[in-house]
C-alpha cells in the first residue's frame, strides 16, 4: 500500500509539474509575471525529480522516456520564452510526442496511458499559447481531471506491476484517450491556423488603417518626431513646406533649427519640463523658416514612452496659425492705436477693458476705468439719451447705435464724443457684452456750433429778404396811393369820396406794416441766453401770428388757431416763438401749391406738459425724407432757398427746454408736434 501511495504521489507531482509549466505559460503570456523563465525552470526541475522517483518504481525505461518527453516539452517552452511560439513549433512538440509514443510501442511497453497523460496535459499549453482566457479555465479543468484520474481511476500506472489482467481494458482506454486527445488537438490546431490567418488579415487591415490615418494626419498637420534630446527623426512634407528646409536638411538636425528667438528662455524651459515629465504640452510657438520668415504654429507635443516606461520619442503635431496670429496682432494694434477710443462694457454697464485713448478721453488711466460704471462718467444731460440707447441695444432692438454725447471729465471739462455702441452676442446668441468705439468730436462740435451760428445768420438774411417782401408790398401800396392822391390834388380834379377811400386804405396798410414790425421783435435777439420765464401761451402765439398772419392771408392759406389754453409756460419765449414760426413758415411753403391750403395750430395741456401741434393740408412726408428731417443742413427746398437748419435748430431748442419735437407719422396730414414741460425742473447752466 505504501508503495502504491508513493506512486500515486509521484504521479501527482508530475501532474503538478505539468500544471506548473502550464500556468507559467499562462501567466507569462498575460505578462503579469516577468520572471516566468525562473518559474519555468523550477517546474522543469520538479518534472525531472518526479521522473526520477518514477524510475525507482522499476519501470526504468518508461520513466526515462517519460523524463525525456515530459521535460522536453517544458524545455521547448523554456526555449520559446525567447521567441514567440508559433504553429510550426507546436507541431514540433506534437511530433516529438508521437515519436515518444512510437518508442513506447517499440519497447513493448504495456501501457500507453502514461504517455497519453503527458500528451493530453500538453493541450492546455497549446491553448494557452494563444492566450484566450476562457481556455485557461478549460485547461485548468482538464488538468484537474487528469490529476483526479491519476489518483482515483488510473489503472495503467499499476499495469506493469499487476500483470495484464486488465490489459484489454487499458488498451481500450488508451485508444479512447488517444482519439479524444487527437481530436481536440486537431480541432485546436485547425482553429489556430484559422486564427493565424485571421490575425494576418487583421494585421494587414490594421496596417492599412494606420497608414491611412497617418496619411491624413500628415496631410493635415505639421508633424515631427524627435528623439528625447530633440534631434529630428522624422518630418512630414508639411513641415518641410512651412519651414522651407528639405527633409535631408532637417533629419538629424536639432529641432532648434527653426527657433525664431521670439520666445523667452523661460518659455522653452517650461515646455521641456512639461514634456520631460511625460506630460503633453500645448501652446503657440513662433518658428522661423529657412528664408527668415517667422511663422506661428499651434503645437501639441506628446512624449512617446517605450516598453520600459521611458521617453523614446517626442511627437509634435502642429497647425500653422500665422494668419490668425497676424489678425490678432492687427486687432491688438487696433485696440492700442492713438486715434480712437475703444472699450468693452458688460451688460451691467461696467467697463471691462478700455484702451489708453479711452482713458485719455475720460481723464483717467485705462486701468482705473475698468470696473467703473459707464453712466457715472456721462454728462448728466446726456444720461437719458445714453441709457436709452444702451437699453435698446440690450433688448436687441438694434445691432448698434451711433450717437453723440458728452463726457464730464473729473476736472469738470466737457468732451463731446461720437459713440458707436454695438452688442456682441455669445455663441448661443445671448447678449454677452457691448463694445463702444468713441471719437473725440469736441473740435468738430465747436466748429458745428459756429457753423450753426453762421447758418442762423444766413437764415436771418433769408428772413430779412422775406421781411423786406412783407413790408415792401404794403409800402408800395401806401406809396402808390399817396402819389396818386397827390396827382389828383395837384390837378384839382378829384372827388372827396375817392380821396377818403384812398386814405383809408393807406391807414390800414400802414397798420399792416406796424404789425409786422411788432412781430419782428421776436427776432431782434438770439434768445439763447435768455432766462426761462413764465410766458402765456396767448402772448407766445400772439407774437408769432403778428409776424405771419398777413403772409398767410395774402397767399390765401387758411390759418386756423385752436383755442388757446390760459396758462403760462416756463420757457425762453423768443426761442419758442421762433420754433413755432419756423413750423408755420414751413407749413405755409408746403401747402402753397396744393389745391387745399390750410394750416392748423392746436395747443393742448396734458398734465405737466403742453403740446403744440402744427398740421397742414399736406399728406405727410415720405419716409426717406422724414428720417433725415431733423438733421442739420437737410433741406428739400431748392438751392439758396433754405439752409436746412430750421428743424434741427428747432429740435435743439425744444430739447433744451426738456421737451420733445417730432413728426407725427400716424397723422393723415403732415403734423409736427412739440411737447414742452410747463415747468422747468432742471437747473440750467449757462453755456459759455
Amino acid at each position: 500500500m505504501r508503495n502504491q501511495f508513493k506512486i500515486k504521489l509521484s504521479r501527482m507531482i508530475g501532474s503538478f509539474a505539468e500544471l506548473g509549466v502550464l500556468s507559467d505559460l499562462a501567466t507569462s503570456h498575460a505578462k503579469k509575471i516577468t520572471n516566468a523563465n525562473i518559474l519555468s525552470l523550477i517546474f522543469f526541475v520538479v518534472g525531472c525529480v518526479y521522473s526520477v522517483i518514477y524510475a525507482f518504481q522499476h519501470i526504468v525505461v518508461i520513466s526515462l522516456i517519460s523524463l525525456v518527453s515530459g521535460s522536453s516539452f517544458s524545455l521547448v517552452l523554456l526555449l520559446n520564452k525567447i521567441k514567440k511560439y508559433n504553429i510550426s513549433r507546436l507541431f514540433l512538440v506534437f511530433s516529438l510526442n508521437i515519436i515518444v509514443f512510437v518508442f513506447y510501442k517499440l519497447l513493448g511497453a504495456s501501457s500507453g496511458f502514461h504517455y497519453w497523460f503527458f500528451l493530453s496535459a500538453q493541450i492546455p499549453f497549446i491553448i494557452f499559447e494563444f492566450g484566450e482566457l476562457r481556455l485557461v479555465v478549460f485547461s485548468l479543468v482538464w488538468t484537474g481531471l487528469l490529476i483526479g484520474l491519476a489518483w482515483f481511476g488510473d489503472f495503467s500506472f499499476i499495469l506493469p506491476l499487476m500483470d495484464s489482467v486488465t490489459e484489454n481494458y487499458a488498451k481500450t482506454f488508451s485508444l479512447l484517450n488517444f482519439l479524444v486527445v487527437f481530436a481536440i488537438l486537431s480541432l485546436f490546431t485547425y482553429y489556430m491556423i484559422l486564427d493565424e490567418k485571421n490575425l494576418t488579415v487583421h494585421t494587414q487591415e490594421l496596417q492599412t488603417k494606420f497608414k491611412k490615418q497617418m496619411a491624413a494626419l500628415e496631410a493635415s498637420a505639421i508633424i515631427v518626431f524627435t528623439d528625447p534630446a530633440g534631434k529630428i527623426l522624422h518630418v512630414n512634407d508639411e513641415f518641410c513646406k512651412v519651414s522651407g528646409y528639405t527633409k535631408e536638411e532637417l533629419i538629424g538636425s536639432p529641432h532648434s533649427i527653426v527657433n525664431s528667438g521670439y520666445h523667452s528662455k523661460e518659455f522653452f524651459e517650461d515646455l521641456w519640463s512639461t514634456i520631460s515629465s511625460k506630460k503633453i504640452w500645448r501652446g503657440e510657438i513662433c518658428n522661423r523658416s529657412k528664408d527668415g520668415r517667422n511663422y506661428w504654429v499651434y503645437t501639441t507635443i506628446v512624449p512617446m514612452l517605450g516598453e520600459n516606461g521611458q521617453i523614446e520619442q517626442y511627437a509634435a503635431i502642429r497647425h500653422e496659425i500665422t494668419e490668425k496670429k497676424m489678425k490678432e496682432g492687427k486687432f491688438y494694434s487696433l485696440f492700442h492705436q492713438e486715434g480712437v477710443a475703444i472699450c468693452f462694457i458688460n451688460l451691467k454697464g461696467e467697463i471691462i477693458e478700455a484702451n489708453k485713448k479711452y482713458g485719455d478721453l475720460y481723464g483717467y488711466s485705462a486701468k482705473d476705468l475698468s470696473g467703473k460704471k459707464i453712466f457715472d462718467l456721462t454728462h448728466p444731460d446726456d444720461l437719458v439719451k445714453s441709457s436709452e440707447f444702451v437699453n435698446k441695444i440690450k433688448l436687441g432692438q438694434a445691432g448698434f447705435f451711433v450717437f453723440e454725447r458728452r463726457i464730464l471729465k473729473p476736472d469738470g471739462s466737457i468732451v463731446w464724443n461720437l459713440v458707436n455702441l454695438a452688442l456682441i452676442r455669445d455663441a448661443s446668441g445671448k447678449p454677452d457684452y457691448l463694445t463702444a468705439v468713441l471719437q473725440d468730436i469736441t473740435q468738430s462740435k465747436e466748429l458745428q456750433q459756429k457753423l450753426i451760428q453762421s447758418a442762423k445768420m444766413s437764415s436771418l438774411g433769408e428772413m430779412a429778404g422775406g421781411i423786406a417782401h412783407e413790408i415792401n408790398n404794403p409800402l408800395g401800396i401806401i406809396h402808390g396811393k399817396a402819389s396818386q392822391i397827390l396827382k389828383m390834388v395837384k390837378s384839382g380834379v378829384f372827388s372827396h369820396d375817392a380821396i377818403v377811400e384812398q386814405l383809408g386804405k393807406i391807414v390800414s396798410t400802414s397798420d399792416r406794416i406796424a404789425k409786422i414790425i411788432r412781430g419782428l421783435k421776436s427776432f431782434s435777439r438770439n434768445g439763447e441766453q435768455d432766462p426761462f420765464e413764465l410766458e402765456s401761451v396767448e402772448s407766445l402765439m400772439g407774437s408769432v401770428l403778428d409776424l405771419c398772419s398777413e403772409r398767410f392771408k395774402n397767399k390765401s392759406v387758411d390759418l386756423q388757431i385752436g383755442s388757446l389754453p390760459k396758462i403760462g409756460i416756463e420757457c425762453r419765449g423768443v426761442q419758442l416763438s421762433q420754433v413755432i414760426l419756423n413750423l408755420l413758415n414751413n407749413a405755409h411753403d408746403a401747402v402753397m401749391l396744393l389745391p387745399e391750403k390750410w394750416v392748423r395750430v392746436d395747443i393742448k395741456v396734458l398734465e405737466s406738459q403742453v403740446q403744440f401741434s402744427v398740421t397742414d393740408s399736406g399728406h405727410g412726408i415720405p419716409d426717406a425724407i422724414a428720417e433725415k428731417l431733423m438733421q442739420p443742413f437737410f433741406t428739400t427746398k431748392e438751392v439758396g432757398k433754405g439752409t436746412g437748419l430750421g428743424l434741427s435748430i428747432s429740435k435743439g431748442i425744444v430739447e433744451d427746454h426738456g421737451g420733445k419735437f417730432w413728426l407725427d407719422r400716424t397723422s393723415v396730414h403732415t403734423k409736427f408736434i412739440i411737447e414742452l414741460p410747463i415747468r422747468q425742473n432742471k437747473v440750467f447752466k449757462k453755456t459759455a
Binding site: G465, G466, I467, A468, H469, N472, N473, P474, L475, G476, I477, I478, H479, G480, K481, S483, Q484, K487, K505, T509, N554, K555, M592, L593
Partner: protein, 250 residues
Amino acid sequence: MISFKKKKILVTDDEPGYQEVLRDEFRMADATVLTAGNGSQALDILKNEDICAIISDVRMPGGNGIELLDRVKTKNEKTPIVMLITGFADLEPEDGYDKGAEAIFSKPCNLDQLVEAIYRASLPEKERFVQKYEVASNDFQIKLRVKSFDDAIQKKLFSMGRGGMFLPITGKLPCVGMRVSFLMTSNLISKTIFEGIGICRWSRAVAEPNLPTGIGIEFTHLTEKSYHVYSKLMSKGKPRAFIPKGIQKS
C-alpha cells in the same frame, strides 16, 4: 402826357392792394388794364388776349414772375415785361435784363417812371432809340476802336442785347443809374461809328466765372446811323437778352 390809347396792359401781382394801385395808374394813362394774381394766371390771359406790355411781381404763389418772364420771352422776346422786385435777392438786375426784362423796379417805386418805362418799351424800336442828344460833361464816356463790330463781338469786346449792351471794362466803373456816352469806331472798309447815350443799369466790379467785370448799359439815345448799325447787328443775332450779362457764346 403819355397815352397807351386803350392798349392792353397785364398787371401780375399777388397783392390785391398793389394791383389796385397799378390798375388806377395805368388807367389814368389811358390803358386797358388786365390783372392776374400769379404767373400761371398771367399765362392763361396771354393765350387769349393781345397784350402790349406786362408788369409782374417776382414772388408770387403758384407761378412766380421769373417763370412768367422765361415763358413769355421764349415765345416772343419782343413782348415787353417790367419786373417788380419787393424783397432783395429775388432777382438780380443783371439776371433780369439778361432774361429779357425791359425794366426792373423795386417796390415801392415811382409810378410815373414805371409808366414811362412801360410806354417806352412799347414803342417801336426806331422811335424809341433815335433821338437827338448832346454829350454832357458829366457823362461817363467810353471810346472804343474796333476792326469791325462783328469782329469786336467775336473778340468779345462787347456784347449786344435788344435794348442795350454789355461792355467788359475794367478800372473805374460808372454807378448804377449814371448816364454813359459811348463812341465805337470801326475802320474795316469805311469808317463806321456806333455812338449814343445810355444809362448804366448794373455794374460788375468783381469778375465771376465766365463773367468779366463790366457794365450793362441800356440805350436811351442813338444817332440814326448808329441805329442802322444796331439793327444790322440785331438781324444777325436775334438775342433774347435786353442787356446781356456776359459775352455771347459764338
